[in-house]
Amino acid sequence: MSYEFDFQSVLAYWPMFLSGAWTTLQMSFWATLVGFVLGVLCAVARTGGPLWLRKVVGAYVEVIRNTPLLIQSYFLIFGMSNIGIRMPIMAGAILALVINIGAYTCEIVRAGIESIHKGQLEAAECLGLSPAQVYWHIILRPAVERVYPALTSQYVLLMLVTSILSAVGANELFGVSNQVQANTFRNFEVFIVLWVVYLALSVLVRAVFWLVAQCVFVRRRKLGTSL
């Protein structure tokens, strides 16, 4: 054991870690929000749209799910700037994340939609609900509720893979830590600190998702029984 730990010089950079963590959370938030909407739209198109649209969305999902995010972001961000479309790094990074997470959300929500029992649709029709009402109350919302745990894991993963976007210059937690490494030459300690911070962030993200579920799903259930 010839190695001597030196966390002090690394932890002196805590404001940088903090701002990096904040950027990570912001990126994840926007990517989650927009990606969720995109994914649900894709899932709706893939289960109920016209044939050509199903094929297009299917191709999008397969291409995204079978290539690494790193290549996707290189392709998008370096490629775009090469043909003269320059966007801020954060915008490009979030766009890459949205395109990526949209495909995963689509698959998960589709599984939820397909798991809705046919008898429920017939029952809803008998009650005289309009097709739009049936779709919203009987198909989409219960489907999302059913796959919510899978979505949570996927969005925690999304928060973790934002680290990859440091490769295209995003200044999130991992990107910031590169600067700390360059300043202190304490690579190993920096990675240990990152480990702890990311762990804390993923606990935080899980908690937020749990809270959202408490608000959205539980309140709805209570309303449903009281009506």
Partner: protein, 215 residues
Amino acid sequence: MNPQQFDYLLQGAWGTVVLSCLTFVFAGLLGLLVALSRISPVRAVRGAASLYIQSIQGTPLLVLMGVCFYGPNLLGMTSVPALFAATLALTIQSSAYFGEIWRGCLQSVAKNQWEAAECLGLSRLQRMVKVILPQAMRIATPPTVGFMVQIVKNTSIASLVIGYAELSYNAKILNNSTFEPFLYFGCAAVLYFVICYPLSRWSRKLERRLNVAHS
């Protein structure tokens, strides 16, 4: 793109395949160990396994790569081969996910199978190896094949910390010298797709077939 450059990309793809296969083998073994510890009768073992899974799943692979690349410094090794560090990091990460997948499968084997095996007078080990594992393996095959896609994609991250010459690393090198991102990253994406798509199709097919056999 001239043939030489395409050759270089193909070499990268080979690096990706080698790294993925090594990871799959080692992570498979370690993952089985994790899954078995997770359902162990000893509480401390269960707790340790769950702590392991939580702490691995809560951190990005990129960080794990860094730890595995710089960590051997602790043992006085000044530099480790890139392939070794990359395999180590990917193995540790994938084993946590494999552990969770397989635990679910082991637990989904009906409880009365355990009891029946116990009544037959089989020991714990025999019950596991002869009765539970074979049934769990059938359920576990589709998600395991599906996870191989994840491993292949995850190898791309080795290019960021470690600089192991796999597909995205080589594509990046080519792009750095010629600045044609659409061409090189497009080709790299196609190569990844060629490796991954058959696996994900296979996984879905297995799922359908095994479901039919199940019901």
